[in-house]
């Protein structure tokens, strides 16, 4: 993948130098194109600038007064409010974020760890029933997460125990249950995505290792796994984003306010009948979006380079 990218870039460079000054733009053309490009840029960044400026409104202003980059009486009060207690529930931003992190890290780690084993088998080993099992995975991948909502709710709800310390425990009404529901869609995605990457790793190294008498397990652990690190990272990251912003399962499954996640809080803040000031909502949205956006910005080129053709279900 990178090799071809370099080749293409090199070819492009060669063409450019060969053509020399012939491709120069006239100043007028340059200015017109710059105006168009800047106009597009304005539409792209406008919503983001707007959210930032609304988040600076003071708390006693329920809606923005106008389109000011820095509103009058600008303050960071809203951020303080979000960190202390963003919704009517007595939970802080950190507690909400911790619930989201638990779901996001748990689901993506388990899916990647189990997924890479299956992906290796599908990519490199021969066994009977291979095609049928791959079709099963593709069939599940085709379904949006909502399509498994009903049975997962009912099935997980059946698991109810009385635990010694915690009291009544219902698997559906717990972060663990939501995590399982997410893995049910994330695992097939991880298998398929990782298989796609393993298929692109040249077989030469493994063949050399086989000559030296390496077993399948050794080949997997010593050769495939280290080479697959970028794919593991990207698949894990996509899973993390999916878990961090997960809404459908958590909103329907979780009843306890201590189990609230960031996405649930965002939705309840925006309901028609709440009196959350827009500054608090905007500050919340920014704090919610910034961590994954920064990471995404840097891994983006790996994601769009064909490594992940499908996005996480949503």
């Amino acid at each position: 993948m990178t090799a071809t990218a370099i080749k293409v870039a090199a070819a492009g460079g060669a063409v450019r130098t060969r053509r020399g000054g012939r491709g120069r733009l006239s100043l007028r053309r340059q200015l017109v194109l710059q105006a168009i490009a800047l106009g597009i840029l304005a539409t792209v960044v406008f919503p983001i600038i707007w959210v930032f400026s609304v988040s600076l409104d003071p708390l006693n202003r329920s809606r923005p007064e106008g389109l000011n980059l820095i509103p009058s009486n600008a303050s960071l009060e809203a951020y303080g409010q979000v960190l202390r207690q963003p919704t009517n529930n007595p939970v802080s931003f950190a507690e909400l974020a911790f619930n989201s992190v638990k779901i996001a890290v748990g689901t993506s780690l388990i899916s990647v760890m189990i997924g890479v084993l299956a992906a290796y088998a599908f990519s490199r080993l021969r066994f009977s029933g291979r095609q049928v099992l791959m079709i099963v995975i593709l069939g599940v991948l085709m379904l949006p997460a909502v399509a498994t909502l009903t049975p997962l709710f009912v099935v997980l709800n059946k698991v109810q125990l009385t635990l010694p310390v915690l009291g009544l425990f219902n698997l559906r009404n717990s972060l663990l249950g939501v995590g399982l529901a997410i893995i049910s869609g994330l695992l097939p995605f991880a298998i398929w995505n990782l298989k796609g990457y393993l298929d692109t790793i040249p077989k030469d190294l493994e063949e050399a290792a086989a000559v030296d008498g390496a077993s399948t397990n050794q080949t997997f652990l010593r050769i495939i796994l280290p080479l697959a690190v970028p794919a593991l990272a990207v698949t894990g990251f996509l899973g993390f984003i999916g878990g961090w912003t997960e809404f459908y399962f958590s909103w329907m499954f979780l009843n306890k306010s201590s189990d609230q996640t960031l996405a649930m809080a965002l939705y309840s803040m925006q309901g028609q009948f709440t009196n959350t000031p827009w500054s608090v909502f905007s500050a919340f949205a920014i704090l919610f979006a910034v961590p994954p956006a920064i990471v995404y910005f840097f891994v983006q080129k790996y994601i769009t380079s064909g490594l992940a053709v499908g996005a996480v279900k949503g």
Binding site: R63, F127, L149, V155, F220
Partner: protein
């Protein structure tokens, strides 16, 4: 390189030795060991629930059947009620739902692809300043989680304090219109904006949002394809006397098509199932007219608690998506063979 040279004879040696010929019992057993964790997990939390769902779809499973009592088997009643739009819930019309959902996906993807290609061409202009900066900044919408895009745009469309009305009021004031004219309720207005097109204003508002969200990745894909076009082709075409339009049609488009068609199909499926905008922005309104299959499915279970009906709805969705997948696979294959010729 060195590794591949030394590995060549090894391949022959191994295949002659028949270590893995035809997947003997030993190879199979190792493979299954690698597959066991994934299929145990998927069996319990993916495949069993899906089978259970099919059974549920033939029952009147409701909130009262969650604990002890088993639901009654009602045969095809749920399916018939869904397909004939006779569900006892407000604003439900199956035909309208499907037609709107297909139109939603097609109209969005068409705009994404055209805009994406156009902007990629703009940024591919030789000698344009700040290309790299534009390319980096244009990708911003992609990195923001969709749930946040949807909720923020919903605020922007607010009739009172929303940015869209504020901008229009600013422009209108400039032209001497009173500010009160611009209190448009973008997401809830009942009357259709264009009398002869039966689509609510909320559709157009969400179309704008999804365009903002969707074109940048199309531009990335198109840029990749454009950069793979050898410059000599344009020179050759120019020498043959081809004008700008002919060069675009016979060189640029030929290279763009194999990259853009699979991506457009992928975009169609994603947009078809795009939950966040319809759920968080319009809430399916007005009168359920911007509801998609996914949001309707969610509402049946989450709001109405009609588990049996929800299960039947999911089974119907499975067949709709299967049809779409089979058709799109055909399309991809058809275009591939055209390219190969």
């Amino acid at each position: 390189m060195a590794a591949s040279v030394t590995a060549k004879p090894a391949v022959q040696a191994r295949s002659r030795g028949g270590v893995r010929s035809g997947g003997g019992p030993r190879g199979s057993r190792t493979a299954y060991l690698y597959l066991v964790p994934a299929f145990v997990v998927m069996g319990i939390i993916t495949l069993y629930p899906l089978v259970f769902q099919v059974w549920m779809s033939f029952t009147n499973f409701g909130i009262g059947n969650l604990r002890a009592t088993a639901p009654d088997v009602v045969g095809l009643k749920n399916y018939i009620e869904i397909l004939s739009s006779e569900l006892a819930i407000p604003n439900f019309s199956f035909v309208r739902l499907i037609l709107y959902n297909i139109w939603w996906a097609i109209s969005n993807v068409a705009i994404h692809v055209v805009l994406g290609v156009a902007i990629a061409l703009l940024l591919n202009t030789k000698g344009l300043w700040f290309k790299r900066a534009y390319r980096a900044l244009y990708i911003i919408p992609v990195v923001i989680p969709p749930i946040i895009v949807a909720t923020v745009w919903r605020n922007m469309y607010d009739p009172d304090g929303g940015a869209v009305n504020l901008i229009l009021a600013g422009l209108g004031g400039f032209l001497g219109n009173p500010a009160d004219v611009f209190r448009i309720d973008w997401l809830r207005q009942v009357a259709d904006p264009i009398s002869f097109i039966p689509l609510p204003l909320a559709y157009f508002a969400m179309l704008v949002t999804n365009t903002w969200l969707g074109w940048p990745l199309n531009a990335v894909v198109a840029t990749g394809a454009l950069q793979s076009i050898p410059g000599e082709l344009y020179e050759a075409a120019e020498m043959d006397g081809a004008g700008p339009w002919q060069r675009f049609k016979n060189v640029t488009l030929v290279y763009l098509r194999p990259a853009m068609i699979p991506y457009a199909i992928y975009g169609f499926v994603v947009t078809f199932n795009l939950f966040y905008l319809a759920y968080f922005m319009s809430g399916g309104g007005p009168f359920g007219r911007t509801e998609l299959l996914v949001t309707q499915a969610y509402r049946l279970v989450n709001d109405q608690q009609l588990f049996g009906v929800g299960a039947a709805f999911a089974v119907i969705m499975f067949f709709i998506l299967l049809t779409i997948t089979l058709i799109t696979n055909r399309l991809v294959k058809a275009t591939q063979t055209v390219e190969d010729l």
